[in-house]
């Protein structure tokens, strides 16, 4: 080969941890004691040592990693597709066959990480060799590449042909077995680096990324100063014991389990499975009668009650009865401010002030004096976060006071009692008699009022 191993200062390997892992795997597969069972493979009259069969590879993978046959086959196929294993017979297709096809481990010289990226010159030499060895032995895509390269490096074409002849001659000096092996190794290498059309290339990685060392971000004094500042703050942070945090996951999962279609299915049926979208109709954002699970979910947390338009509407009704509906309205107005357009900020701030905060306002909200003072000062230069403190205060007020009362109220209890529990739809016996799948109106079709939902509002379905 004309080119030596690519000198990228470890760059390709660092960016492709899967390659080094595959290499480690392949090395351990070749371990004399613990590795895959090797045998000598007879091909016509030549005997090739150190060959393995697809089955052996798969068994070894199953045994070593405690995985299923299917996964082992998949993993083995990936090893072959990346060129770490090559078939001794018919190396045009890189796949792991489970018959008696012999495979061998690719020499590290040809590993993806070593010779990355493959050099044009080397490819030209390889194609020239193939062409010389057998006239018309090139595949269509190879012929195309050959012509392309010929045009591109026509000035050094003599060198290419010369090199090709040299290599072919040198190969003739070797034993038939070695010659065959080297030919297979080379062919596999090029199958990986110049895949035929229709075969996805394993080399593709997507747009180039830069890691720390290559530095698109300037590692200036400012950067480190910011990092030090951030770390100092982090050190002073209050932490919670792991046991407490982890217990919370258990509680959360078990509480939400029945609401998770994965874990518990969904009634009447999962639309994707039965092609019946009743489930979505029953749980639509504006459904008249909410389902039982939905009403139960309002009791999980205040946030979830507010996130559900139906829940929020019922909560508003409850607050009206308690003469504190202005709290929720104020909160909603603040949400609109925070998540609204930048241009609307001054007008919205003013409107909110007039309606909720000004002395004698129509829907005055009760905020503690300190927060009110701070807010009023901030109103001098209105920005989208100027009402955050006040909003949080009112949110906490509702959460600690009104929300628990709501959950204990008759209103909520009635909702629970009236809530619907849909009956389960039996799966159709003849699955091929499919109901036609109906389109639902797109949220985009509905009037502009739909787009004004500021927080967590579902698109009308």
């Amino acid at each position: 080969m004309a080119a030596g191993p690519a000198s990228h200062g470890g760059h390709p390997r660092a960016q492709k941890p899967h390659l080094s892992k595959m290499e480690r795997m392949v090395v351990s597969m070749q371990d004399p004691d613990q590795g895959v069972k090797m045998r000598s493979q007879r091909l016509l009259i030549t005997v090739i040592p150190h060959a393995v069969t697809g089955n052996d590879v798969m068994e070894w993978l199953i045994h070593k990693y405690c995985i299923t046959e299917e996964e082992a086959l998949h993993l083995g196929t990936l090893l072959v597709r990346h060129g770490y294993l090559y078939p001794l017979r018919d190396p045009c297709h890189l796949e792991l066959r489970l018959d008696e096809t012999p495979y061998r481990f690719q020499t590290p010289y040809f590993w993806m990480s070593t010779l990355w990226p493959a050099a044009e010159l080397d490819y030209a030499i390889y194609l020239a060799k193939k062409n010389i060895r057998k006239r018309g032995g090139l595949f269509d895509h190879e012929k195309e590449h050959y012509d392309q390269l010929h045009r591109k490096i026509s000035h050094t074409w003599d060198l290419v042909v010369m090199q090709a002849r040299e290599q072919l001659w040198a190969a003739k000096q070797r034993r038939k077995g070695d010659r065959l092996v080297i030919a297979c190794q080379e062919q596999t290498y090029w199958l990986v680096n110049r895949p035929p059309p229709g075969v996805p290339s394993v080399l593709e990685q997507g747009p180039e990324r830069n890691s720390c060392t290559a530095g698109r971000v300037q590692m200036t004094v400012d950067f480190y100063r910011r990092e030090v500042e951030c770390l100092r703050k982090a050190l002073g942070r209050a932490r919670v014991k792991s046991s407490v945090c982890l217990e919370a996951y258990l509680k959360f999962s078990s509480q939400r389990g029945p609401h998770d279609p994965i874990m518990s299915g969904c009634l009447p049926s999962n639309p994707w499975v039965t092609d019946n979208d009743t489930y979505w109709a029953m749980n639509a954002p504006s459904a008249a009668v909410p389902t039982r699970l939905r009403v139960e979910q309002w009791a999980f947390s205040f946030r979830e009650l507010l996130e559900d338009p139906v829940g929020r509407a019922h909560f508003m009704d409850f607050l009206r009865k308690e003469f504190s509906a202005e709290n929720l309205s104020f909160w909603e107005a603040c949400e609109e401010l925070r998540h609204g357009g930048q241009a609307q900020v001054p007008a919205l701030v003013d409107a909110v002030y007039q309606q909720f905060l000004a002395p004698g306002a129509a829907r005055w909200v009760n905020i503690d004096s300190r927060t009110m003072e701070r807010t009023l000062v901030g109103l001098g230069r209105p920005h989208r976060h100027v009402l955050d403190d006040a909003q949080l205060h009112i949110y906490m007020l509702m959460k600690k006071d009104s929300y628990p009362r709501f959950l204990k109220s008759d209103l909520y209890k009635d909702l629970l009692a009236e809530a619907v529990v849909p009956p389960e739809t039996k799966r159709r016996v003849f699955p091929f008699m499919r109901k036609p799948r109906h389109s639902s109106p797109s949220p985009a079709l509905l009037p502009a009022s739909a787009s004004r939902e500021p927080s967590g509002g579902d698109g009308e379905a």
Binding site: P17, T68, N210, R239, S264, W272, K399
Partner: protein, 414 residues
């Protein structure tokens, strides 16, 4: 420029070493309150039964690699973007394509659906994030109404609307995240702190709705305060690029998927990594992760064309799904948790709902005699078993029996 504004006794090197020593101290502090591991706490939780998931819809229509997708809040519509610049909006329930737009750039790596369902945002190698209002007017060209919102100095890797159609959060290969006002295109806040390309972000489901997490090529996951632009917490335990981050449904934790072939769970209150989801046989990077609705399952798409389903609490793998013919580039669970959709470099998107098949213990039968699959089934249409939905009469919920060793039945080669 590197030596501008240095204080006395401060050099680039001294700052660097101070940062390193602070990092060490931080790890010590974090370890002090770590009194138990997640899998220990989860010992008393019942193990999950076998899962069989079947592809219910395959969306074909992209002529090239699918790079990103997002669900609409209506639980059935999807927007997806691909390498050739095409962005398509599907009704995935009917598999109809409803809108299509061709971006002027290739590698559209980010796309997002607006909360109202009336617009989509996308961007990629054009370094911009553009918002397209969705219209059904045949006379209107979608591209004509395009609004260019975000401008970065490098590729756009991720974008997400915040709680409304009016603001967009973006992450870019230039190492920054940014919050933009959609109407005016004004930059509202920028977030600096990553040392390399930022690849992903996710908004926190919190009461105050003010934080988000981002992951990047500097192996760091950082939590930001949207209002001040400051980094609130940072985690650096991955060994390679972080491709995807997603919050746990309660908002108290988030998961990350990385090129080091692991997914990790970080708890925000404990301020540390609390679980690693990895297996020796998984050597390709995880490109995208998402939780099921209850947070019990973590779905992760990998670059080895598979999707692994992890039990978040016990740390074990529940299932492995085959079916894609190239790397899985994007994966999202639907807003109501009824299905998840995966997009791949094999040009397709697959929607897979969850159907839980329980291993019912039949007396007197050996494991190999059991009906139904005892190992995850190849989904390439050659599954010999039917996928049952939940039936009344069989006890629901996870089964606490030990799973039998998979029978060696090849379902691929006949």
């Amino acid at each position: 420029m590197a030596t501008d504004g240095l204080h006395e006794n401060e050099t680039l090197a001294s700052l660097k070493s101070e940062a390193e020593s602070l990092k060490g101290k931080l790890e010590e502090e974090r370890a002090k309150l770590h009194d138990v591991e997640l899998h220990q706490v989860a010992e008393r939780v019942e193990a999950l039964g076998q899962f069989v998931m079947k592809t219910r819809r395959t969306l074909k229509g992209h002529g090239n690699k699918v790079l990103c997708m997002d669900w609409c809040k209506d639980k059935r519509r999807i927007v997806s973007s691909s390498q050739d610049g095409k962005v398509i909006v599907w009704d995935s329930f009917t598999t109809n394509k409803e809108h299509a737009v061709t971006m002027p750039c290739t590698w559209v790596m980010a796309c997002a659906y607006a909360p109202s369902g009336c617009a989509i945002a996308c961007g990629g190698l054009d370094n911009k994030c553009s918002v397209y209002p969705l219209t059904f007017d045949k006379n209107e060209n979608m591209a004509a109404k395009k609004k260019s919102v975000a401008m970065h100095t490098n590729y756009l890797s991720a974008c997400s609307f915040t709680n409304s159609d009016m603001q967009i959060l973006t992450a870019s290969g230039d190492g920054t995240c940014a919050l933009w006002d959609v109407e005016s295109g004004q930059l509202l806040q920028s977030f600096h702190g990553h040392g390399a390309d930022v690849l992903c972000l996710d908004l926190a489901p919190s009461e105050t709705g003010n934080t988000f997490v981002s992951g990047g090529c500097d192996k760091k996951a950082m939590v930001w305060d949207m209002r001040s632009g400051q980094c609130v917490q940072a985690f650096e335990t991955h060994e390679s690029d972080i491709n995807s981050v997603r919050y746990y449904p309660s908002g108290d934790a988030f998961a990350s998927g990385s090129d080091d072939a692991t997914c990790r769970l970080y708890d925000l209150r404990a301020d540390r990594e609390v679980a690693i989801y990895s297996k020796e046989s998984i050597i390709f990077g995880a490109s995208s992760v998402d939780f099921s609705l209850s947070g019990r399952l973590l779905f992760a798409g990998y670059n080895d064309y598979t999707i692994n389903v992890w039990d978040v609490l016990k740390g074990s793998r529940v299932s492995i799904l085959f079916g894609h013919e190239n790397r899985v580039s994007t994966l999202r669970v639907s807003p109501d948790g009824t299905a998840f959709c995966s997009g791949s470099w094999d040009h397709t998107l697959r929607a897979q709902p969850q159907a839980l098949l329980l291993e019912v213990a039949l007396p007197g039968l050996e494991p190999s005699d059991r009906p139904g699959p005892s190992a995850p089934v190849n989904l390439r249409g050659r599954a010999r078993t039917t996928c049952k939905t939940t039936c009344s009469g069989i006890k629901m919920g996870p089964v606490s029996q030990k799973l039998p060793k998979p029978a060696f039945q090849s379902t691929l080669f006949k």
